[in-house]
Symmetry: C2
Subunit: 223 residues, 2 copies
Amino acid sequence: MGKLSEGDTKTLILDAAEQAFAELGFDAASLRRIISVAGVNLAAIHYHYGSKEALIEAVFARRVGPVNQARLERLDAIERRAGQGVLPLEEVIEALVGPALRLARDSAKGPVVMRLYGRTVAEPGEHLQKMLSHQFGGVVKRFATALQRAVPELPRDALYWRMQFIIGAMGHLICDPQRLKLISGGLCDPSDPNTAIRQLVAFLAAGMRAPLPSKRKEAPRKR
Amino acid sequence: MGKLSEGDTKTLILDAAEQAFAELGFDAASLRRIISVAGVNLAAIHYHYGSKEALIEAVFARRVGPVNQARLERLDAIERRAGQGVLPLEEVIEALVGPALRLARDSAKGPVVMRLYGRTVAEPGEHLQKMLSHQFGGVVKRFATALQRAVPELPRDALYWRMQFIIGAMGHLICDPQRLKLISGGLCDPSDPNTAIRQLVAFLAAGMRAPLPSKRKEAPRKR
DNA sequence: GTCTATAAGGAGATAGAC
DNA sequence: GTCTATCTCCTTATAGAC
């Protein structure tokens, strides 16, 4: 556990698996492809991890753990500064989306890691979804109460709707940055985390402060 | 093409495939599982569709075509009413997200269809992504110019960033409605399209109108 | 810990009778 | 158009030598 050796077989597998999962998806990335990139033997995966499912979980946990820890630490600092008062909305949102978007810069892997991270949300499969709930359940709860403290007048149902929108906007940006570059004709550069965070926080904060939708009907329907 | 027979083998396959893809994902849903639900023979899939890839495309096109047509028709009506003036932002956004969210109500399948529709955005695979660009390219371009006309003072780079956020929030809501019910403790009901649309439009319109993010401190500048 | 060899099964696709 | 039977390939996983 305390080993640091870089040529470690266990780590070689983890790195190659991460890249393959990000590039091809969990199903399409076979263990055989992973070992060919890692330069290790097929049996080594089962020796070190036991199964493909366990490998997926290990790949995921290595990145998600630090991100969620950073989120909670930043939220702690915000709450400490605010005392009993209202929390600053932009800072709370930045604490939620910033660490995830900055993951691209922290890792030498760059955008590859981001795709993996964002993709898991959309992927089906009981095992993955259980893992997600386990990894993110606490973070979601903490940020739900923090956002409530940042926008106290917002009813609770609207709060949860809007949290879902935040998660969706963040996830899509993380998962599929290339599409933004494409549709903008190269005008936007999603690989720059600072610009991404600034744009995202401004948009989401305004959304959180939006006046409540009227119960009224929608626009006239064409038939 | 003009056939209406409901027990049609071709349609039975399409229905079963849609459900299986939505439930399990494109990779995990095997043709053998699809035929067992449809009650048809394995060879029938290849006779009617040729390959699994072509089947995926057929499943997708059946739903996306009408949705995109509805989007463009509503946008046409909005632009006709507005003449040369500024477009009403809420209505443009509603034209974009409404038809997709209402898909759940129009189809007897309900939420199943929604999951399929939203999931495809996040899925990897060259073939799927090419198909997406082909199916949605025109719609994205039309709505980009429409949104620009609705928020004329917004710089073009911010416009594309925010469009990406819109697509993400909408897609996540469509793809994974159950998570909202879960994290809200049953307070929010994502299966009610009208509430979902109202909440989503209010949030996104406010986001589109957000002041531009500053580079470092509070100094929102306009172009 | 790492290797070879192989097990055991599921996948998509097809040929040819009816 | 529909069926049975089968082909070929690739997957995860394991047993056992070194």
